[in-house]
Amino acid sequence: MSGMFGLLNMFALFAGMLWLGIQRVWGGFSAKDYFLTAKISVVASIVFSLLIKEENWAIPYFSANVPSIWTFVLTAGVVYLWLVLSLKWFVVEDLPACLFCFLSLAALLCCHTIASTVNFGVLFGAMAVLALINYLFLYLSQQTEELHNISSRYGLSVLFFIFLAALSLYFLTPENWDLQHSAGAAAAAGTLKTYFILAGILFIFLFMLAVAPLHFWFTDTIAPAVLPVAFYFSLVPQISLWTAFIKVNLQVLRPLMDNLDAMYLVLGVLSVFVGAIGANTSRNLKKIFACSGIYNLGVMLLTTASFTDKSVFAGLVYMQVYILALAGIYTVFYGFKSRGDYLYNLNMIGGFAKVRPFAAGALLFFMASLAGLAPLPGFWVIWAAMGGFAHTARFGLTAVVLGGMLLLIPAYLQVVRAVCFSKKNTNFDRTENSIYAILVFLTVLILLLVCRPQLLDIQMQWAALAG
C-alpha cells in the first residue's frame, strides 16, 4: 500500500498531462492556463513526495529511498522554477505552450522513473523517452539552421547509444533486467558479452550526463538553444541521471569497481580540464556554464569514483548543491533581456549591475558558491571531496580539482567583469518580479544552508562524511 501511495506523485504528473491534453482538445485556453495546470501538477507531486519522504517503499519495477525522493523533490522544484520563469517567453512569442508544458511534465515523470526504478528495461525505456523529449525540446527551440543540424546530430547520437543499451538488454535477457540479478547474469555471460553489456549500460549514462569525451552534444545544444530550453538541458535531467548512475554502480557494477575506478578517474580528469578550458574559449553565457557543468560533473565523478559510502554521499550532495547554485545563475539570465530578447553574449550584458544591482549581486553570490568559496555550499562539497581523496590516499586528485577550478575561474571572472564592472551598453527590459522572488528564495535557501547544513536533510550523509 505504501508503494502505491509512493506513486501518487507520478499520478499527479500523469493527471496534469491528461488535463493538458483535454485543455488542448477543448480549446480556448491561453498559455497562462497551460502553465498553471503544469505548475499545479508539479506542486501536487512535490507535496505527495514530501508526505512519504521518510518511507522506503518498493513495488515491482520501482523502489524509493531518501536520496531518490530528494532527487525527485529537487528536480520537481527546479521544474517549477523553470515553468514560472519561462511563461513570459511563451506569452510574448506566442509559442505552443501546451506542448512545452506537456513535455515538461513528461520529462519530470521520466526523471522520477529513472531515479526510482530497479529494472533495466524500465530504466532504459525512460531514458529513451527522455532523449525523445530532449529532441522535441530542441525542435521547439529551432530557429536557426545551426540548431536544426545540432538537433539532428543529437538525435542520431542518442539513437546509437540507445541501440547499444538495447543490445545490452537483449544479451542480459528480460528475466535478469532487475538490478539485483543483473550483476550475476552479466558476469556469467562470458567475458566479451560481459564487457559489451557493461559498455551498453555505461555509455548511455556517460553520454546523457555529458561526461567528456561524450560531452560534445551538451555544449553544442545549449549554446544556440533559447534560454528556457538551455535551462532545461543544464538542470532538469542531470539530477535524476546522476542518482540513477550511482545506483547502477552500487547495485550492479560494484564487483567490477576495481576496473571501472580507473576509467572513472580518467573520464573525471578529462571532464575537469575539458570543462575548465572550454569555458574560457567562449563568450556565450550558456556555453560558459555548460562547460562549467562538465567541469563539475568531472569533479563529481572523481569524488564518487571509489564508490565508498562516503564518496557516494559526497557525490549526491555535490549534485544538489551544484543544481541550487546553477538554478540561481540561470534565473539571473532570465533578467538579461532587451526588447523582449534574451541576451547571451558577454558583450551585450555590460553594465547590468548599474541598472539591476540586486540581480547582479545575486549572480555574484551564486557564482561564488559554484567557485567553491568558503563558507558557501560549493566549498563544503569540495572540502568533502578532499576528505574523500585523503581517505582513499588519492591526494593528486585534490590538485586536479583545485587546478581545474583555477582554470575555470577566469571564465567566471569574465562574466563578473561584464555584468558588474563594464559600462552599460544595452537598454535592459524591466526585470520581472517573479525573477526577483526566485532569486530571493534561492539566496535565502543557500544562506539558510550555510547556517544550517542539516536543512538539506543530509545529516546522516554529513555524519558519514565527517565519520
Binding site: R417, C420, W462
Partner: protein, 473 residues
C-alpha cells in the same frame, strides 16, 4: 558578555551592509545615507572593540575569549573565535583605517553604495579572520576577505577591470594552496586545531615541507614581496578611490598576521633553509621600493612605497627567530595603520585638488593650511620621529633584526631612512610656494571633518607613544 561581544564585532558590519544595500541614493546618485550608515556601524564597532579590551587581560599573550558558532561542516563541530592584544589592536586599527577611508570617499561620486557595501563585508570578514581562534574559522575568513575586495577594486576601477581579476586570481591561488595545507593539517591532527597551537603539530618531514610551503605561499601571496608582488603594485597604481586604496593596503596585514600565528617563534624546520633566501628577497624589494619612492614625483607613489616598505620591515621582524617582538609589532602596526590611513585620506584629497592646477602639484599645500598641518604631523609620525608608538617599537624591531643579521638589518635601516627622506622631500615640495602656477584660486582646503579626523589621529598616536594601551580602562 565578552563572547557575545566578540561575535557582535564580527557580524555587525555584515548586518550593516544590508542596510547600506537598501539605502536610497539622492538625485545625484550620491549615497549619503549609505555613508552615514557605514560611519555609524564602524564607530559602534570601534566602541565595542574598546570595551572588549577592558574585558581581557592585556598582560597575557594567549588568546583569551572564546566564542563558538556551531557548524557541522567544521572539524570539531564549531567555529571558534578568540582575542588577544595583537588581534584586537589590528582589528581596531583596521576599523579606524576604514573609517578614515569612508571620510575620504566624500568627493568620490562613482559607485559609492556598492563600494561601501563591499567595505562593510570586508570589515566583517577581516574581523572574523583576525579574531578566529581555530584553523577552520581562520581559513573561512581568509577566503571571505577576497570577494568584497575584488568587488571594490572592480567598481572603483571601471576601465582597468583586469587588475581586479588579477587580484582575484592571485588571492584565490593563495586560498587554494592554503586549503590544501589546512586539509593536510586536519588529516594529521584529526581534530579541531587552535591557531596558537599549529606549530606544535607533529608530522613527517615530507608532509611538513608540503604543508608549510603551502601555508608560506598562501600568506606571501598577500604581501608585496618580489616576485609575488604583482597584484599589489598593479592594483594600487590603478586605484583612485581612497577607501578602496585603504582596503587594498590592509590586505597584507592578513599575510603578516598569518605568519605571526603560524610560526610565532621560529620558522618550521622543514622550510627553514629557505628563510635566508626569502629575507634577501624582502630586503631587495624594500630597496627597490625605497628607490622607486625616492625617484617618483607622485605623492601617491611615495605613499605606496612607504606603506609597503613598512610591511616588509614587520615581515622581517616576524621572521626573526624570537617571539618577544610580537607585542612590539602589534603596537607599531596599530600606529602604522592609523598613520597610513590618515595619509591616504589626505594625499588622495591633495591629488584630486592638484588636478585643477595646470602644472605639478608642488606648492599646493601653501593654499591648504589645514591639510598642510595634518599632513606634516602625519609624515613626522610616519617617518619614525618620536611622536608615536612607531618610534619605540620600530627601534626594538630593527634592533632585533640587526641582532639576527647585521647586513639585513643595515639594509632595512637604510631603506627606512630613505623612506623618511623621500616623505619629507615630498612635504617640502608640496609646500614650495615658488612652484605655484596659475589656477590656485580653485584649490580648496580639506573640510573640517577630515582635518578633525587627521588631528585626532595625531593625538591618538601621541598618546600611544606615551602608553601604547592608554585606552584600556
Amino acid at each position: 558578555m565578552a563572547e557575545n561581544l566578540l561575535l557582535i564585532i564580527i557580524f555587525l558590519p555584515l548586518f550593516g551592509s544590508l542596510f547600506v544595500a537598501f539605502s536610497r541614493d539622492d538625485d545625484a546618485g550620491v549615497s549619503r545615507n549609505a555613508a552615514n550608515v557605514s560611519v555609524w556601524i564602524v564607530c559602534c564597532n570601534i566602541l565595542l572593540i574598546l570595551r572588549l579590551f577592558s574585558l581581557i587581560d592585556v598582560n597575557l599573550d594567549a588568546i583569551q575569549v572564546f566564542g563558538r558558532i556551531p557548524w557541522p561542516i567544521a572539524p570539531g563541530g564549531s567555529l571558534t573565535f578568540g582575542a588577544d592584544v595583537l588581534a584586537l589592536l589590528i582589528v581596531l586599527g583596521i576599523h579606524v583605517a576604514l573609517l578614515l577611508g569612508i571620510f575620504g570617499l566624500k568627493d568620490v561620486k562613482e559607485s559609492q553604495k556598492g563600494i561601501l557595501f563591499s567595505s562593510l563585508l570586508f570589515l566583517s570578514a577581516a574581523g572574523g579572520f583576525f579574531l578566529a581562534a581555530d584553523l577552520f574559522a581562520f581559513y573561512i575568513f581568509f577566503v571571505l576577505m577576497i570577494l568584497p575586495l575584488f568587488v571594490q577594486i572592480g567598481l572603483s576601477n571601471g576601465s582597468g577591470q583586469k587588475t581586479a581579476s588579477r587580484f582575484f586570481l592571485y588571492n584565490i591561488l593563495g586560498a587554494f594552496l592554503f586549503l590544501i595545507s589546512v586539509a593536510a593539517l586536519y588529516a594529521a591532527k584529526n581534530d579541531a586545531i587552535m591557531i596558537d597551537h599549529i606549530s606544535d603539530i607533529q608530522m613527517p618531514r615530507k608532509a611538513g615541507i608540503f604543508i608549510w610551503s603551502g601555508v608560506f605561499l598562501a600568506f606571501v601571496l598577500r604581501l608585496p614581496v618580489w616576485p609575488f608582488h604583482y597584484w599589489i603594485s598593479s592594483v594600487n597604481t590603478a586605484l583612485k578611490n581612497p577607501l578602496v586604496f585603504t582596503s587594498v593596503s590592509l590586505m597584507p596585514v592578513s599575510g603578516l598576521y598569518g605568519f605571526i600565528r603560524f610560526w610565532p617563534a621560529v620558522v618550521p624546520e622543514e622550510i627553514s633553509s629557505f628563510v635566508p633566501v626569502f629575507e634577501f628577497l624582502c630586503v631587495l624589494t624594500m630597496l627597490y621600493l625605497a628607490f622607486s619612492g625616492y625617484s617618483s614625483t607622485s605623492s601617491r607613489d611615495k605613499l605606496f612605497s612607504y606603506i609597503f616598505i613598512y610591511y616588509l620591515l614587520y615581515l622581517l621582524g616576524v621572521f626573526s627567530p624570537t617571539d618577544v617582538l610580537q607585542r612590539n609589532i602589534a603596537y607599531s602596526m596599530f600606529a602604522f595603520l592609523l598613520v597610513s590611513a590618515a595619509m591616504i585620506m589626505i594625499v588622495f584629497y591633495i591629488d584630486r585638488e592638484s588636478e585643477k592646477l595646470q602644472n605639478s602639484p608642488n606648492g599646493i599645500l601653501c593654499l591648504q593650511p589645514k591639510a598642510a598641518l595634518a599632513y606634516a604631523l602625519l609624515i613626522l609620525a610616519g617617518a619614525g620621529f618620536p611622536v608615536s608608538a612607531l618610534f619605540w617599537n620600530n627601534f626594538v624591531i630593527v634592533s632585533e633584526i640587526l641582532n639576527t643579521d647585521v647586513y639585513i638589518g643595515t639594509t632595512a635601516v637604510f631603506t627606512m631612512l630613505l623612506t623618511a627622506v623621500f616623505q619629507l622631500q615630498n612635504l617640502y615640495d608640496l609646500r614650495d610656494k615658488s612652484c605655484l602656477l596659475p589656477g590656485q584660486e580653485k584649490i580648496r582646503d580639506i573640510d573640517n571633518l577630515r582635518f578633525a579626523a587627521g588631528t585626532i589621529i595625531v593625538m591618538v598616536l601621541f598618546l600611544s607613544f606615551i602608553k601604547p594601551l592608554w585606552f584600556v580602562y
